[in-house]
């Protein structure tokens, strides 16, 4: 009886290690750290402070630590805004780094944090990445004498969540990711409008090389010469899948009006001044996407008559 029970217990451990947990299937360890988090608060006069995330993003973490005479982390505390797994990962992070030197602490990866909890649901892996980022920011803050605040490195790829190519590359490498969906789970990039999926896929390909090719191609890329019908269908498909989602997220929309030879006539709807996308000329963005996915010869024209409609975007 007892043996059997133990076997079941072992099996359930295996299952959690599998990290294929869905929402609400939190491990007992995670729940324990959520309901009774350790090291909550802020250290007065800390040696290092790390702040990542924001209210708008849905989670944020402020980590503070103090070193002892030997340069080991004597105390670490956190304050977290976020879901249960964000709170639990912050709690275990403080546990894990106590007693470590800074160079030891710097080796902690997001996988280590997730493993310490007995696994995290895939969609929540970004919580473990947030923990690692806060730790790095705090160490950096200490090493620059408290002057330097954490800054984004690289170019922003995901404008919805402000994730850079450097950060995306890193989660791909450290967690051996091969799909855009996984990248979203691990760092949120691509989880808003989805307009950056193409770019994320390119980064995956760059980092993972052949491995990335195991997944099916998302779009039939351009073949040789297209018939008119094929061309129009691919233009419509590219607008539907690559362009409209990004515009939608910023309160806008696009209609394909007509295709005359290589001239693609489109109308924009509902765009407004506070949308970040107006920094670019929309025409250029659409043109670039269509050239990438359909044909280099295409050029875009705006159908002015139908574009100038009143809009009802709520900011």
């Amino acid at each position: 009886m007892l043996k059997q029970a133990r076997r079941i217990e072992n099996n359930s451990k295996l299952k959690t290690k599998d990290s294929k947990l869905s929402m609400w299937e939190y491990t007992d360890k995670l729940k324990e750290h959520f309901f009774n988090p350790h090291n909550v608060g802020e250290i007065e006069d800390p040696d290092g402070v790390g702040e990542v995330g924001s209210l708008a993003c849905g989670d944020a973490l402020r980590l503070t630590f103090k070193l002892d005479r030997n340069g080991r982390i004597q105390d670490a505390k956190f304050k977290t805004f976020g879901c249960a797994s964000a709170i639990a990962t912050s709690s275990v992070l403080t546990e894990m780094i106590k007693g470590k030197t800074l160079s030891e602490a710097a080796k902690v990866t997001n996988r280590d944090i997730a493993d310490y909890l007995g696994g995290l649901p895939e969609q929540k892996m970004h919580c473990s990445v947030m923990g690692r980022e806060a730790l790095e920011a705090a160490i950096e803050n200490y090493r620059t004498g408290g002057k330097k605040k954490h800054e984004l490195e690289g170019n922003v790829i995901c404008t919805c969540f402000g994730v850079t190519d450097k950060e995306i590359e890193r989660v791909i490498r450290e967690n051996d990711l091969t799909t855009a969906e996984q990248v979203t789970n691990y760092c949120k990039a691509g989880g808003g409008c989805g307009g950056c999926h193409g770019e994320i896929e390119k980064i995956i390909e760059k980092v993972q090389g052949e491995k990335a090719k195991e997944r099916p191609a998302p779009l039939p890329r351009r073949a040789g010469k297209l018939t008119n019908i094929q061309k129009i269908q691919m233009i419509q498909q590219t607008i539907n899948e690559q362009i409209r989602p990004a515009l939608r997220a910023h309160g806008g929309n696009i209609d394909l009006i007509d295709v005359e030879g290589n001239k693609v006539i489109v109308a924009f709807r509902g765009m407004c001044a506070q949308c970040r996308l107006t920094e670019f000329t929309m025409k250029d963005v659409v043109e670039a996407k269509l050239r990438e996915f359909v044909s280099d010869d295409l050029f875009v024209e705006e159908d002015k008559d139908s574009t100038q409609e009143p809009h009802n975007h709520i900011g």
Binding site: M23, K31, F34, F35, P37, V40, E51, L55, A56, G58, D59, A60, L61, R62, K79, T80, F81, G82, C83, A84, A86, I87, Q123, K124, C160, F161, T184, K188, G191, G192, Q236, N240, R244, R248, N253, D255, N312, H313, I314, G315
Partner: protein, 372 residues
């Protein structure tokens, strides 16, 4: 689900298992039950039984209403809806854009209200369908559907309403309204899951949405989900009997819960038009804390609620309804919805009122955004 509904359904599994389409006594008995259920649904809606099509639920009804209408009017290419619809409508409409339709999504104001004048302006000769929900599933805000239906009818355009949240809570009399199509779902009125209905006003053209048999007058083929249909019928009968008394009781409980939470939890706010609202729903935002964490805490105390936060929806962005209302991200992430029913008690409400401030304080202790 109501106990009375279960009792009504029970014999239809093992005793009365005949197929209502069969030409024998056995099938005939079952056919009569289905007919009776259709009458019960029609009585609640104030329509003719022949105007009811049974479906697998609200989502199927919405899909069928929208796609069926457009298929019947192939020359018109515009659909008007709102930004706050249930995904069963919104996702269908957004997919239509990929098939060459123009979709207009009307916005709402801070309290979640529509501007009927804007709707009127948008309806043109190319408009095939207007689909606007009766009451919102997240905030409970009720749209002025009679007025909206009148505007649409005057322009001779088909009007559909997703009334999944409203049926059984708002008295309806479809015979006197201008609504052409209306969706409802069984489990929202203490009926079984996996069954719903679509009301199709006599004379409204809608293409068959399931082919393969003569059931439901050929519009929805497939052997009927008899126990589900009978259960839905009973649930409608109970709703019709209890609607006024129940609404009063539930509204009183809801108001007490809502007022106490808003009073006892600082930095909390009510989402949605306080006046025009379902009696059973309240949607409250708590600043600086996140919805999933609140739900998990509530769950520990045996209280079930839902949230418009990103983490609970499985996506990374908070509720599209709250965002359409211009609720700031900060408050949208910390939004909680309580839905009450006739089965809730005073004690449960008292208990929740007692627990809620504790949970909010506990999570705020953890939040880096709370400045003491």
């Amino acid at each position: 689900m109501a106990e009375e509904v279960l009792q009504e359904m029970k014999p239809l599994f093992c005793q009365l298992y005949g197929n209502p389409s069969s030409m024998h006594t056995f099938g005939g008995q079952v056919g009569r039950r289905v007919r009776h259920a259709r009458e019960q649904v029609a009585a609640l809606l104030g329509c003719d039984p022949s105007e009811i099509i049974f479906t697998s639920g609200g989502t199927e009804s919405d899909n069928a209403a929208i796609k069926g209408t457009l298929a019947a009017i192939p020359n018109k290419r515009k659909v008007i809806t709102t930004r706050v619809e249930h995904p069963a409508v919104l996702a269908v409409c957004r997919d239509l854009e990929n098939h060459g339709y123009t979709v207009v999504e009307l916005g709402v104001d801070k309290e979640g209200r529509l501007d009927p004048a804007e709707l009127e302006e948008q309806i043109d000769d190319d408009t095939a369908l207007v689909t606007i929900m009766y009451a919102n599933n997240e905030t409970g805000v009720i749209f002025p559907i009679d007025k909206i239906a009148k505007i649409v009818a005057d322009k001779e355009v088909v009007f559909h309403t997703d009334a999944v949240q409203a049926v059984g809570k708002i008295p309806l009399n479809l015979a006197k309204s201008n609504i052409d199509l209306l969706s409802l779902s069984g489990h929202k009125l203490h009926g079984p899951k996996g069954v719903g209905a679509l009301y199709v006003r006599k004379g409204t053209r809608i293409a068959s949405f399931m082919l393969g048999g003569h059931q439901e007058a050929g519009r929805r083929a497939g052997t009927e989900n008899v126990p589900g249909i009978v259960g839905l019928g009973k649930a409608c009968e109970l709703a019709a009997e209890n609607i006024h008394e129940e609404n009063q009781k539930v509204k009183r409980l809801r108001d007490r819960l809502e007022n106490a939470i808003l009073e006892n939890c600082p930095d909390s706010r009510l989402n949605g038009d306080k006046k025009n609202r379902l009696p059973n729903t309240t949607n409250i935002s708590f600043e600086y804390i996140e919805g999933e964490a609140i739900l998990l805490m509530l769950d520990k105390y045996g209280i079930c609620a839902s949230s418009g936060s990103a983490c609970t929806s499985g996506s990374l962005e908070p509720s599209h309804v709250l965002r359409a209302m211009g609720v700031p991200f900060t408050a949208a992430h910390g939004s909680i919805r309580f839905s009450l029913s006739r089965y809730n008690t005073e004690e449960e409400v008292d208990y929740t009122i007692e627990i809620m401030p504790q949970i909010v304080n506990q999570l705020r202790e953890l939040s880096p955004f709370v400045v003491k």
